[in-house]
């Protein structure tokens, strides 16, 4: 018996020209794990929202959706509330109540459960999700990862049959994200809950997915097992192929045939079977080292703590950034990376050490530090939006917006409301606002957080253009793939200090855990291959050498 049956579903928003969804037909069985992917604007969220009546947007709809053979609109609201769970993107905004225990019970209160029932269900969930320790805590004291786990737990307390997740980990760091996705996997395996999920980090979910559904401009362009979908996307030359996991990309781009690898493990054994153990060509010629006479930023031995009796967050951090490069700082959660950036731009005042920007101590700049000199793009671009259109917001800084808008590729967005933009567009609009102060040193705090691979691409283009214009960029990021591809230098931040600084190739080539997927799958054969391009190039060279 089909569990969810979608027949010929089309949908368009009022006053919109093109429909968002066109002729979607789909059958989902009980207990399936479906990964839904597609570019921004392909209708992913709209499709997910159609699976729950209260969230369905207003507009013109044709076709039908059946849940266990009942048309969805005839399924009572109370049944839908408990049977269909829906987790949204932003962890901060989903909790309704102030206490963890209350959040867990919120849904059960809504459907009219009595106190005894709620007590057992809530206890059960707290144990299953390992949140018993913070049961009595205030929701506001939780980290993003904990909060998203709480959102999931409070939905699972209602014992849903179907779990819908709309980019649930886009605002989380990689560790919290994989924790969360593992929990989702566990729920799927242990409870048989049907999972429908959209996600940027396809490499994390494709191995668990039974089927992958690819949406392209509101139509289903592929629906099959992950490996078959990969093959199909490659064949069709679809842009979505670049969102697929690295091993799969390397496999097809290297021209290999047969069963494609999905995980790093499979990728590694495929490489092992197709090239000799000690390949004739094991490394690529090192690119010309970046060299610059001037120093943009010189941080010397800074120490910082938030209050007199708290622990030190920065413990003698030092860093030197040459002018004109893109310098990335990576490192674990809570290592103090963001605090380091704040200390550079003066939101945090280090009690020891000094920071010099372009050779002058920041204290000596007085009020001029942020004019034509230094600026920072905050982690959440929304921190910078004050006005009702992008243009007005930019004009808060400077009237002369044309060139910056072009650099950031937001000229077509100027009349829009900042909150109507997608995440990647918001990030570029915020960057434009920051750039209007004409900084020569630009600090970026987690710039690629929540972006899909296409927005990352555009964002990288913007950064490269800025680099050409001579802007020095220092970014803090969890995104090792992005840093490996675009940075000139990478530093490791740990325990309040900058530990090592290298070029991406030697930095990631030397690490075994904290490195890119391409490096992990190829490190047994190649040296310093850190991006998919590197691996493809080396693979092909070795194949040529073998023939």
């Amino acid at each position: 018996m089909p569990h969810i049956h979608i027949q010929d579903l089309s949908f368009s928003y009022p006053n919109a020209e093109a429909p968002v969804l066109q002729n979607i037909s789909l059958t989902i069985h009980q207990g399936e794990y479906i990964a839904l992917c597609g570019q921004s604007g392909s209708g992913k969220t709209t499709l997910l929202r159609h699976l729950k009546s209260v969230l369905t947007p207003h507009g013109v709809r044709t076709g039908s959706i059946h849940l266990d053979d009942t048309p969805l609109e005839n399924v009572p609201a109370i049944t839908q509330a408990s049977k269909i769970g829906y987790v949204m993107q932003n962890p901060q905004e989903q909790p309704v109540t102030a206490k963890v225990w209350h959040e867990l019970s919120f849904g059960l209160e809504n459907i009219g459960c009595d106190t005894a029932t709620i007590r057992t269900r809530v206890a059960e969930m707290a144990c299953y999700f390992g949140i018993a320790d913070w049961f009595h805590k205030d929701v506001s004291t939780l980290s993003g990862g904990q909060m998203q786990l709480l959102n999931l737990a409070s939905i699972m307390a209602m014992q849903p049959d179907i779990l819908i997740l709309d980019e649930p980990t886009s605002q989380l760091d990689p560790l919290a994200a994989s924790d969360f996705l593992n929990t989702v996997r566990k729920i799927n395996l242990e409870l048989g809950t049907t999972v429908i999920i959209t996600e940027h980090r396809l490499e994390d979910i494709l191995p668990s997915a039974d089927r992958v559904l690819v949406l392209d401009q509101g139509r289903i362009s592929a629906l099959d097992t992950p490996k078959a979908v990969g093959a199909l996307l490659w064949e069709k030359n679809s842009p979505m192929f670049s969102a697929m996991p690295t091993p799969m990309q390397v496999f097809y781009r290297a021209g290999a045939t047969g069963q494609c690898p999905l995980t790093v493990r499979e990728g590694r054994s495929w490489l092992g079977s197709s090239i000799p153990k000690t390949p004739p060509v094991s490394y690529l010629p090192a690119p010309k080292p970046f060299d610059s006479a001037a120093t943009a930023l010189e941080v010397k031995d800074i120490w910082f703590r938030y209050s007199r009796d708290s622990q030190d967050i920065l413990r003698g951090a030092s860093l030197s950034v040459p002018a004109g490069c893109i310098h990335a700082i990576v490192g674990g959660n809570g290592a103090g990376k963001s605090t380091f950036l704040k200390a550079i731009c003066g939101s945090c005042k280090p009690y020891r050490g000094k920071v010099a920007v372009f050779g002058t101590n920041t204290k000596a700049y007085k009020g001029n530090l942020f004019q034509n000199c230094l600026a920072m793009l905050p982690q959440d671009p929304r921190s910078l939006f004050v006005k009702d259109t992008v243009l007005e917001d930019l004009q808060e800084v400077s009237k002369d917006t044309a060139q910056v808008c072009e650099t950031c590729q937001i000229t077509h967005l100027l009349d829009r409301h900042p909150y109507d933009l997608s995440g990647g567009e918001q990030q570029r609009a915020a960057l434009a606002k920051v750039l209007l102060t004409k900084p020569r040193l630009l600090l970026l705090d987690e710039p690629t957080k929540g972006m899909d691979c296409f927005f990352k691409q555009t964002f990288a283009e913007v950064l490269c253009k800025l680099k050409q214009q001579g802007v020095t960029i220092l970014m803090v990021s969890h995104d090792v793939e992005f840093c490996a591809k675009y940075a000139d230098f990478v530093s490791m931040f740990f325990d309040g200090q900058v530990l090592t600084t290298h070029t991406p190739a030697s930095f990631f080539g030397g690490n075994s855990f904290y490195t890119t997927a391409a490096n992990r799958m190829s490190r047994a054969f190649f040296q310093n291959a850190v991006t998919a391009d590197d691996v493809v190039a080396l693979y092909q060279k070795n194949r040529e050498a073998a023939q």
Binding site: K52, V54, L55, P76, A77, I78, Q80, A81, G85, M88, N90, Q92, E93, Q94, P95, V96, T97, A98, H102, S105, F106, G107, L108, E109, N110, I111, G112, D114, T115, I118, R119, V122, V139, S140, N151, S154, I155, M158, K342, C345, G346, S347, F370, Q371, A375, M376, P378, Q379, D380, S383, L384, F385, V386, E396, V397, Y419, K433, V434, T437, L443
Partner: protein, 291 residues
């Protein structure tokens, strides 16, 4: 703050006690009852707040003095004229009455001080969750949002500083302008976020059925015992009040009913949380000594 025994009781027990204590405190103006009220409230306040309490109590006593000294200026009734101020009599009776009114004010402040410590927002909202479900949910949501907004306001402030807007040493006008910009940005952010929150509520069935209110606190044997004791003591005290044991007049003549058996009962009522607090501390010591 030390862990307090009384705060571990059911919110209803807490609430009923404070309701009684504050009502009695406002209504009785017999000097002996005022003194008893001040002492009992003061003891518990010190137990709850520790050293911080002493400073607050000093402030309250100053307030008492001010209220007492100012009142005879307006109230000229009474027969013992101490001296004349601007030609108006300043009487002993009015001064004493002023002290009495000041004491009532201090007693309420002390009890409210304890109440604030014990009746945290989650207790309050659970207590009134069944009576006013929408309102108590509204309050819960406000308490969820306040820390959220404050941390966002900090983020906005930091972000704006890093593009050269705002800072520490600005002229007053610029400080207000920047503060207003932060408030505007925060409003926009919070309002957009509210849509997600509303979706998350509806998606979890808000409005689909009649809401219940999860009572995380359970009434235990101890609660019934404390409530029983409090109700008995309160009834006796009320009988005393009705029969005139708590009566007193200040102007034009100082007079008060003779002190009777009702005063110790009133004290017993007021000392209930103190008893529980002390019992808990002692028990804790004994248990720890056994480890």
């Amino acid at each position: 703050m030390h862990s307090d025994g009384f705060s571990k009781y059911h919110p209803l027990t807490n609430f009923l006690f404070f309701l009684g204590a504050i009502l009695f405190g406002v209504l009785f103006q017999h000097p002996a009852y005022l003194l008893a009220g001040m002492l009992c409230a003061g003891i518990y306040y010190v137990l709850l707040q520790g050293r911080k309490a002493l400073k607050a109590i000093a402030g309250m006593l100053l307030l008492l003095l001010i209220v007492a000294l100012i009142n005879p200026i307006f109230n000229t009734q009474g027969s013992h004229i101490l001296f004349r101020l601007f030609g108006r009599p300043y009487t002993l009776e009015a001064l004493v009455y002023g002290f009495a009114v000041g004491s009532i004010l201090v007693i309420t402040l002390l009890w409210f001080g304890c109440y604030n410590q014990i009746m945290t927002e989650d207790k309050f909202t659970v207590l009134f969750g069944n009576l006013a479900p929408s309102l108590s949910l509204l309050l819960v949501m406000v308490f969820r949002l306040i820390p959220n907004l404050l941390s966002r306001a900090r983020q906005i402030n930091d972000a704006r500083r890093a593009i050269g807007k705002g800072g520490d040493d600005l002229p007053l006008k610029e400080k207000i302008t920047q503060g207003m910009a932060v408030l505007t940005a925060l409003t926009g952010w919070a309002l957009e976020g509210s849509i997600v929150t509303a979706d998350s509520m509806r998606s979890r069935g808000y409005g689909a059925a009649k809401r219940t209110c999860f009572q995380i606190y359970q009434m235990g044997f101890g609660d019934y015992l404390v409530i029983l004791a409090a109700v008995l003591a309160a009834i006796v005290t009320i009988i005393g009040a009705v029969t005139g044991a708590t009566d007193a007049t200040y102007t034009p003549l100082l007079w008060s009913a003779p002190v009777s058996f009702f005063l110790p009962v009133y004290c017993i009522y007021l000392l209930i949380p103190t008893f529980i607090h002390v019992k808990e501390v002692l028990q804790c010591r004994i248990f720890i000594s056994r480890i």
